[in-house]
């Protein structure tokens, strides 16, 4: 059937609108990258840059030579790796346990989890617990409370529900116990789902901010986001000691904005690197749970 003029106008308008939406979504990324590579001379001279002529790596060199910044990347990477591995194993194991229908107390263990989704005691009781446990200023204060999040465990449980029982039964006949079945059969079999959840946990730990400002006081332990907050949202570029940083920056004649944007790029690159994997697996992962959410 031939498309009418109205149809064609509709299709064209829709196409153009989506193109504009895409550009609006993308423009901040573009601008940040451009400014981060901008040559100081050009940046200072012109009011705003859209198409730079001269590039410079000065901002990146400056940031990556700053101990406290490199240190905070290390902290965030540590949180992302250790936190993700532990969360994944603990969450998946709990989810697997409550997905086995024969288990005595299964309902109780599921409802106990559900309650934590519905009701949270609030910021202060959590803070006092971390304080009483002596975890203030320890990176465990970020990792341990995040080990088991209700939503993720429920999503994982839905996933394990779909694994046929016959698989388990044949393993029993071969003499395997539940531990062996879980680590040797179920986890390897669930690798795509584990990758999806793992990446999702990793993004969560990498983006940790609130818990970090609550529980960490020593700036040597600041994850990237806390350091970024200081740099991006306060008037001066402050890396640890604002005075020193500003002085160093002016000596190198790198505009504060350029340094800020380079920091944003460095903080975003790891996410952009895992993004293709995230997109492939996680859209499915979300759908898996959205049936119930």
């Amino acid at each position: 059937m031939k498309e009418s003029i109205g149809e064609r106008i509709f299709a064209k308008t829709n196409f153009i609108l989506l193109l504009v939406i895409g550009l609006v979504s993308l423009f901040p990324f573009y601008y940040v990258v451009i400014v981060s590579f901008a040559h100081p001379d050009e940046f200072i001279r012109s009011s705003f840059i859209l198409f730079p002529k001269k590039f410079s790596l000065a901002a990146y060199q400056y940031i990556l030579s700053t101990d406290i910044f490199v240190n905070s990347i290390g902290v965030s990477a540590y949180l992302a790796i250790v936190g993700t591995l532990l969360s994944l194993v603990v969450s998946a194991a709990y989810a697997y346990m409550i997905s086995r229908k024969r288990l005595f107390g299964r309902r109780f263990l599921t409802i106990s989890l559900l309650i934590t989704i519905l009701f949270s005691p609030g910021i202060i009781p959590n803070y006092l617990l971390i304080k009483d446990l002596g975890l203030i200023n320890s990176l465990w204060s970020i990792i341990l409370p995040g080990l088991l999040s209700g939503w993720n465990v429920l999503l994982l449980k839905t996933f394990f529900d779909s694994i046929p029982d016959s698989l388990e039964e044949s393993a029993y006949i071969d003499g395997a116990n539940d531990l062996r079945i879980f680590f040797r059969i179920i986890l390897p079999l669930s690798l795509p789902a584990m990758a999806a959840f793992g990446l999702f946990f990793a993004v969560g730990y990498w983006n940790t901010f609130f818990n970090a400002i609550l529980y960490l006081t020593d700036y040597h332990k600041y994850p990237l986001q806390v350091l970024l907050q200081g740099m991006l949202l306060q008037a001066e570029t402050s890396i640890a000691d604002p005075g020193v940083a500003a002085q160093q920056a002016s000596e190198h004649a790198i505009p504060a904005d350029t340094i800020k944007m380079a920091a944003v790029v460095i903080a975003t690159v790891p996410i952009l690197m895992v993004y293709p994997f995230l997109q492939r697996h996680f859209a499915k992962g979300v759908m898996l749970g959205s049936v119930k959410g």
Partner: protein, 302 residues
């Protein structure tokens, strides 16, 4: 303990062993703090500890309800959520409908990948971007205005703009990601319906209006109801990172208040009461909205 139960426990001992770290984490980090709520009814002093602190009943709650802050926090929370409901909620739906009408698969995929992207950025970065673009002196938008002879605007320090900025941030960050669920629902629509409509001469707009939207209405209603259940929640990070002293009157919400007064000024008992008030209302709303969602033929989420 009877023999049969013992046998069941013994048979599945490795399953329990698997779940043990999770059970421990659940108990320690989710249930122990629930006991901590009791300090809302005490004059808790860190030096005396939980056991020796004085019990005061509902004093902190009374104080809070009579406090002008209460009205302010309630108004701000409600206003921010209503803005989000009116301006944010429809965006992913419209965006999904638009994406669904695109026939060029490569273009559709590209746009999808781009609009998903901001979802994975932290609020710190989103706020940083907001500052980069809207800061009074050196922000991109003001530089642009200045270049073309307009007067710069104090975007981020004008209270009447603040809620709009929060909503705008949410739209930029989450609207694209929000399409995942609607696009999936649209995929489930029977294509024969469209074929039949085409034969009857229905235009594409007509097909959207009479087939696509009614087909995903259930998903829309359920998500709307669930959102109503969270009307007391405003993300701490988003508000905390965007606020400044000029807009504090419209920017303070329950969680930022608890953080500022509780953690920074060590008023533990009072702010535990504030937090508890918020949690209880939130809990009730979630339960009610879940009931409603089931009533509308949805799954609910428990």
């Amino acid at each position: 303990m009877n023999a049969r139960l013992w046998m069941l426990l013994k048979r599945d001992r490795y399953l329990y062993l698997l779940g043990l770290p999770g059970i421990a984490a659940l108990l320690l980090f989710k249930y122990v703090p629930m006991w901590g709520i009791l300090i809302a009814f005490q004059d808790y002093s860190p030096f005396l500890g939980f056991m020796k602190s004085k019990w005061v009943g509902f004093e902190h709650f009374q104080f809070f309800f009579q406090n002008p802050d209460f009205f302010k926090l309630f108004r701000n929370t409600l206003a921010i959520n209503i803005m989000s409901l009116v301006f944010f909620f429809p965006v992913p739906i419209i965006l999904s409908l638009m994406l669904n009408e695109i026939r060029q698969l490569a273009f559709k995929r590209t746009i999808q990948s781009i609009v998903y992207l901001p979802h994975f950025l932290s609020w710190v970065i989103i706020s940083g971007l907001t500052f980069t673009f809207f800061a009074t002196g050196e922000g991109f938008v003001n530089k642009l205005l200045l270049t073309y002879g307009f007067t710069p605007v104090e975007w981020l320090t004008t209270p009447s703009f603040f809620w709009a900025f929060l909503t705008g941030q949410s739209i930029w960050k989450e609207a694209g990601w929000g399409t995942v669920i609607f696009l999936a629902a649209i995929t489930g629509v029977d294509t024969q319906l469209y074929e039949a409509a085409k034969i009857d001469g229905a235009t594409r707009l007509r097909q959207i209006w009479n087939i696509t939207i009614p087909s995903i209405r259930n998903v829309i209603v359920i998500l709307l109801i669930l959102k109503l259940g969270h009307i007391m929640d405003v993300g701490f990070e988003q508000v905390f990172l965007l606020q400044n002293s000029a807009v504090s009157e419209v920017a303070d919400v329950f969680d930022t208040y608890v953080y500022r007064v509780g953690i920074k000024q060590s008023q533990f008992s009072y702010t535990t009461a504030v937090g508890l008030f918020k949690s209880v209302i939130g809990f009730a709303l979630v339960i009610i909205s879940n009931k409603l969602s089931k009533k509308f033929g949805g799954d609910g989420f428990f």
